[in-house]
Amino acid sequence: MESKHVHQQIAAMRQSFFDEEVLDEFFSQLEQLEDQNNPNFVEEVFTMYFRDSTTLLETVEQAMKTISITLAKLDKILHQLKGSSASVGAKKVLNEINKTRQVLEKGNLEGTKAGIWEMRKEYESLKAKLEPYFQV
């Protein structure tokens, strides 16, 4: 009963993720990887992701603050973030990252900052959304 409710909740949440394009189909892939041996696989992956990307985001912030930040370096970090986000199917975050990188390429530092900010926003929202999801 209650579990059913919970299940429904989960399903709804999950669906919303896809609808809002917070997550893409890769998330499904991850889900497929889950099995008896790894019931919490997805959660584990996300945990890792959040952990790593938090660090990366901080690095980005730091980098932005330093005067002598080189675009290449920043790009590298963003690339890493991109990879990580792709690994969990964090679609929106990924999009933001891409946008930011494009701006960065053009050398627009301000634009980059804005992009990063956006990215961060998405990231946080993803985190916020997924946490309860996993808890359930």
Binding site: F26, Q29, L30, Q32, L33, N38, F41, E44, V45, M48, Y49, D52, K76, H79, Q80, K82, G83, S84, A86, S87, V88, G89
Partner: protein
């Protein structure tokens, strides 16, 4: 399934591709985790590591421990492409690149560096499922390569006494698609076999001419650019040879080639004349060797005569028995006649360097770059023109012969000794000839001396005398640089002709000056086996063999072509 498989030793005879041993390299732990899971689901055996260096260590530790490598492009400690290159060179395993970035330029780069495939992250499981195709493809290719070597190998094989294909040499890395070879299971097994025996033998490897010839052939076949010890090893199909042996040999060879290149200008090189004692006089005797020489080429279709096994590249010298090969060495007799067109076939592409020795003595320079045999550059040994040979002995073409005749082909051992000696002697003799060659000869030393060499040694000594003195107008006629990698061949030939072909045994460096029976100065050219730069067309042309130059003897010395060059001057050292 996968997990059940133990280690590397168990050949995957069961349902391929299950049990494929995959090594995943990625700095992102999240991805490692995901990939590992995915691959396990595909029934593959997975090993993960997040550092490229660590990955390389793992690969090196267990050769044949993995079937395929999947690596990320962006990694902190080493560029993914670099890792790709290393793996390709050292282990010759299929490598798949992956990245979030799927830009065409990146993908292109991946392919250029030798990646089998380029996957875009996020990677779907179905994409991973099919990676086994790359492993399979490589195996088939290897088989095909081996098969192609068969012809050539048969000669070698008889010598070496092992069956080329019995073990299904599946060169683990190469993508030869002969398709006829067994399936992967066999291949894999064979690969292991191959490596096993080789690993057991740790003794110092003597790179005989034969072995070297194979080596060169293998290198040529692979393509100098893509050459890697493992590939070579596989192609060579020598069970007891280890990858390390090949690797070090390859290194030497490369140095040799590069050296040859430099020396191409130098006239010396004449040294090669290690004519095995061809006592025979030019004509008669020369035929003997000539025949032998021809024989050799025949046997070795691809003529990779690997002198001293070091550089298989040059090896393929197919002496087309152009009639003139009269016995090697010796006989510096006047008139370069017969142009020996030695086709040096590189094992792989038929680079038969046609050594057309034009009788003209002068142009020795050119072709001799044996070193370049490898590949692509057809060696043209302008033997016939040994431009620079300054043999003083002009007037005594026969002198050599006499010398040779003296050398009764004592027998391989003897010859070797003599060869060594002769080498040394030659040195002084070849004053005119750039000493470079002599140097080359020097190191040749007894290593890998062809059995013939021993004979040649004595001959060589003689020859050298002659040569040096008279600039032996070696008519290098197409001295088919018979590198006779197979010294046996050379020997045989020589023997057959009654001429000792002490050539080449001077370890690789010996550049056998094949003097055509008619005293055609032979340009060793072939020897540049050691050229580190395999593809040194320049070498070829320049003939590191300065021998050719030497061959330019003014006099026409007929050197029996049977002399093999031990090109590997440095290599075999």
């Amino acid at each position: 399934m996968v997990l059940a498989e133990s280690g590397f030793s168990s050949p995957r005879n069961d349902a391929f591709p299950a049990g494929l041993r995959v090594l995943v390299v990625d700095d992102d732990p999240t991805w490692l985790k995901i990939l590992e899971k995915m691959l396990k689901k595909c029934s593959y055996e997975v090993t993960t590591c997040c550092l490229a260096r660590e990955a390389l260590n793992l690969l090196r530790e267990r050769k044949d421990g993995y079937d395929i490598v999947i690596s990320d492009v962006n990694m902190p400690d080493m560029d993914g492409f670099k890792l790709l290159e290393h793996v390709g060179l050292e282990m010759d395993l299929p490598v798949i690149m992956m990245s979030v970035d799927g830009e065409t330029s990146r993908v292109m780069k991946g392919v250029q560096h030798g990646a089998c495939d380029y996957l875009l992250k996020p990677i779907r499981m179905k994409e991973l499922r099919n990676i086994w195709q790359h492993v399979f493809r490589k195996k088939i290719h290897e088989v095909r390569d081996i098969e192609s070597l068969e012809g050539f190998e048969s000669i070698q094989m008889t010598r070496s006494g092992y069956d080329l294909f019995d073990d299904g040499h599946f060169l683990s890395g190469d993508d030869t698609t002969s398709g006829r070879k067994r399936k992967d299971a066999d291949n894999k097994h064979d690969d292991r076999e191959l490596s096993d025996p080789s690993s057991t033998k740790k003794a110092r490897v003597v790179w005989t001419v034969d072995l070297h010839q194979k080596f060169v052939k293998a290198v040529n076949q692979i393509g100098f650019d893509k050459v890697g010890p493992k590939k070579i090893l596989d192609l060579m199909n020598v069970p007891w040879l280890t990858r390390e042996n090949v690797a070090s040999h390859l290194q030497k060879y490369r140095l040799y080639l590069s050296r040859l290149q430099k020396e191409s200008d130098i006239k010396n090189s004449f040294i090669g004349m290690k004519h095995s004692d061809l006592p025979s006089k030019d004509s008669t005797a020369s035929f003997g060797p000539h025949k032998a020489m021809n024989m050799i080429p025949d046997d070795v279709p691809n003529g990779t005569y690997s002198f001293s096994a070091s550089n298989s590249l040059a090896q393929n010298v197919d002496l087309k028995g152009q009639g003139d090969l009269k016995g090697i060495t010796s006989a510096p007799v006047a008139e370069p006649k017969g142009a020996l067109s030695i086709d040096i076939h590189d094992s792989h592409e038929a680079k038969s360097t046609q050594m057309s020795f034009d009788h003209s003595l002068g142009s020795v320079d050119s072709a001799v770059s044996f070193a370049s045999f490898n590949s692509t550059t057809p060696l043209q040994y302008p033997w016939t023109e040994i431009p620079e040979i300054q043999f003083k002995q002009e007037g005594e073409p026969l002198h050599l012969e006499n010398g040779f005749s003296q050398l009764p082909l004592p027998g391989p051992s003897m010859i070797e000794n003599e060869a060594n000696r002769s080498r040394i002697e030659v040195k002084p003799l070849l004053d005119e000839c750039r000493s470079n060659f002599v140097e080359h000869l020097g190191p040749v030393g007894a290593e890998d001396l062809f059995p013939i060499q021993s004979k040649g040694q004595s001959l060589n000594n003689q020859v050298f005398d002659l040569i040096s003195a008279t600039k032996s107008s070696m008519k290098t006629q197409d001295v088919g640089l018979n590198y006779l990698a197979d010294s046996e061949l050379a020997l045989r030939n020589l023997n057959a002709s009654g001429v000792g072909v002490p050539l080449a045994t001077l370890s690789e460096d010996l550049q056998i000056c094949w003097l055509q029976g008619d005293c055609y100065p032979m340009n060793y050219g072939l020897q540049d086996l050691e050229c580190s730069t395999y593809d040194n067309p320049a070498l070829m042309a320049e003939t590191p063999f300065h021998l050719y130059d030497v061959l330019r003897f003014d006099h026409e010395h007929l050197f029996d072509p049977t002399e093999y060059y031990a090109i590997d001057q440095g290599l075999f050292a």
